[in-house]
């Protein structure tokens, strides 16, 4: 495939079949050996081949991105909307049973972000909290909006009613972020750990604050994510934190740009000296007089300025002039 395209890129237009029968790139630079430019033609051929390979890689990458995954079967939705199966007293959203956690993580790997939203919707239809590992019912606030008394934020009740609590919203959205910005890992299909495994989205549950049962949960994560090392997890956490930091950086940048505009020290143009401005008052030596109205044509003036366009047309009133036909001719009009 690549040989064919490199051939066609060359200026020699020959039959494709003939070209293919000859060994391609190796022979051609060798055929004119005495010329000094042979090395440059070789590099050009190599360059072409390189570009070719890069283009092919890009194409493959694009194909993988645009490749449509098969839709998630309904049974998976039904199963996940029934979760959790583990009894509530020992397990809850912050401490899910390992079996449920690994089931959720392995099933969600194939989900598109939109399908994950469908799952939340499906759970809400059943009156459950949108987070797949939460046994509690969702909130049922009335009305359109709700004001948080703690932070003073306003939220849509349709958003709030998806979850049983803010903690569950965080847990569920933590998974959504990972689906939106997927990191891929290779899993061994046969359990042999061979590199020929399937590429899947790496997923993990949100770390719980101050939990004593941490070991049980991380083991569940490890079961579902065999290659998820602590380092990778830290990277993800950093990426998540960066989303927040980016907001601050942007705010700082904006502030410094504004400061620069004002010329405050600390702005981007802080080092530059300002233009010196000295204010000189002109001496007043006579009584103040209003501007004379007696000047000829003063009635045509607009705030002390006499429009010139109208003067040429015989001193029309400015308002009339604006409506005159001549002015319309500046615009392109179609007349039938």
């Amino acid at each position: 495939m690549s040989a064919e395209t490199t051939q066609s890129a060359r200026p020699k237009p020959k039959g494709i079949l003939k070209q293919l029968s000859a060994p391609p790139t190796t022979k051609q630079p060798a055929s004119p050996p005495p010329r000094a430019s042979s090395s440059t033609s070789l590099t050009r051929a190599e360059l072409l081949a390189q570009q070719e390979a890069a283009a092919r890689l890009r194409l493959l990458e694009k194909l993988r991105q645009t490749e449509l995954k098969p839709p998630i079967p309904l049974e998976t939705f039904e199963l996940l909307s029934q979760l959790p199966r583990a009894p509530c007293p020992p397990h809850d959203a912050s401490n899910p049973s390992p079996a449920d956690a690994s089931l959720v993580l392995t099933s969600l790997r194939d989900f598109q972000p939109s399908e994950y939203l469908d799952l939340i919707e499906e759970r809400n239809c059943l009156g459950k909290c949108g987070y797949a590992l939460c046994p509690r019912p969702r909130r049922t606030h009335e009305g359109g909006f709700k004001i948080s008394t703690r932070s003073g934020n306003i939220a849509r009740t349709t958003d709030l009613n998806k979850w049983c609590s803010d903690a569950c919203a965080l847990r569920a959205l933590y998974l959504k972020v990972q689906l939106d910005n997927p990191t891929y890992e290779r899993i061994s299909s046969g359990g042999s750990g061979a590199p020929g495994g399937r590429l899947v989205v790496k997923l993990e549950l949100r770390e719980e604050k101050g939990d004593g049962s941490r070991k049980s949960r991380t083991s569940a994560v490890a079961a579902a994510v065999p290659r998820g090392s602590q380092e990778d997890r830290d990277q993800l956490a950093q990426a998540m934190a960066k989303l927040e930091i980016d907001k601050h950086t942007q705010a700082r940048k904006d502030a410094s740009a504004l400061a620069g505009e004002r010329g405050d020290p600390g702005g981007s143009v802080a080092g530059l000296s300002r233009v010196d401005v000295t204010i000189k008052e002109s001496a007043v030596d006579g009584p103040v007089e209003p501007p004379s109205n007696l000047a000829k044509g003063a009635e045509y003036m607009v705030e002390g300025y006499r429009p010139k366009a109208n003067k040429a047309r015989g001193g029309k009133q400015p308002e009339e002039g604006a409506e005159s036909d001549g002015e319309d001719d500046e615009f392109f009009t179609v007349r039938l």
């Binding site: 839709p71 309904l74 939705f77 039904e78 469908d118 919707e121 499906e122 239809c125 059943l126």
Partner: protein
């Protein structure tokens, strides 16, 4: 005080449901199903007596009916006999209409139950009227199973008025297969050359048009009196 407001709220809801109930009956009748006139033109008082609980709240679980296709409809929906199939079966059958008692949005499970009910009772078509929207996956259940039973869903609020009774909506008449073939032959057209109507168009949904069917639209015209145009459902 509270009782009073809840009673007036119930009354409002019952009135809304009564209007939807009438519209869905008119819809079934317009599609060609056999319904008694007094069933279609039920009065609000009778509706309230029949379909409300003791506290005045509507009893959606009771709001359901089935209807058989009329002779004319069977004739219209029976494909022309061919030598290989001299006695073809009509492509329509009993319709089942149900108001969903669930007032929250409809998930997979509710939809599956409805589809199963239609399949078990050999209904050829099923209409589920819901108070709130379907979830994306429930919609998928509906389309996946529509090969066996034609499942349609309507929102209660979409049925509050019968759109075909509006004076600006011209009369739409579904053509049978022979009529469609005759039309195409007479004007020497391919069906793709006809003007189109979307299958999600409110009127197309009202008549339950399927892709490939043709409707005749009769408009009144100031200059021409009446004229007919045809549209292919896509």
């Amino acid at each position: 005080m509270e009782e009073e407001s809840s009673a007036s709220m119930h009354l409002k809801e019952v009135t809304r449901l009564w209007r939807a109930w009438r519209t869905i009956h008119e819809m079934a009748q317009d599609r060609g199903y056999e319904l008694a006139e007094e069933e279609v033109k039920i009065s609000l008082d009778r509706f309230r007596a029949e379909y409300t609980n003791d506290d005045g709240s509507p009893n959606r679980a009771k709001m359901q009916f089935s209807a058989r296709p009329s002779e004319a409809m069977i004739k219209k929906f029976t494909p022309p006999p061919t030598p290989s199939n001299p006695d073809p079966a009509p492509e329509c059958g009993t319709i089942w209409v149900e108001f969903c008692p669930d007032k929250s949005s409809i998930g997979i499970s509710v939809m599956k139950k409805f589809v199963e009910h239609c399949a078990q009772n050999n209904f050829k078509a099923g209409i589920l009227v819901t108070a709130s929207a379907l979830s994306a996956q429930a919609r998928k259940v509906m389309t996946v199973t529509s090969q066996f039973t034609l499942i349609e869903c309507f929102l209660e609020e979409d049925l509050l008025v019968n759109i075909t009774h509006h004076e600006l909506v011209p009369k739409h008449i579904l053509l049978s297969r022979e009529e469609k073939a005759a039309l195409l032959k007479r004007y020497r057209l391919k069906e793709t050359q006809l003007p189109r109507i979307l299958s999600k168009d409110p009127i197309a949904r009202y008549l339950g048009l399927k892709k490939g069917q043709v409707v005749k639209i009769i408009r009144t015209s100031e200059t021409a009196g009446r004229y007919a145009s045809y549209r292919l459902c896509v």
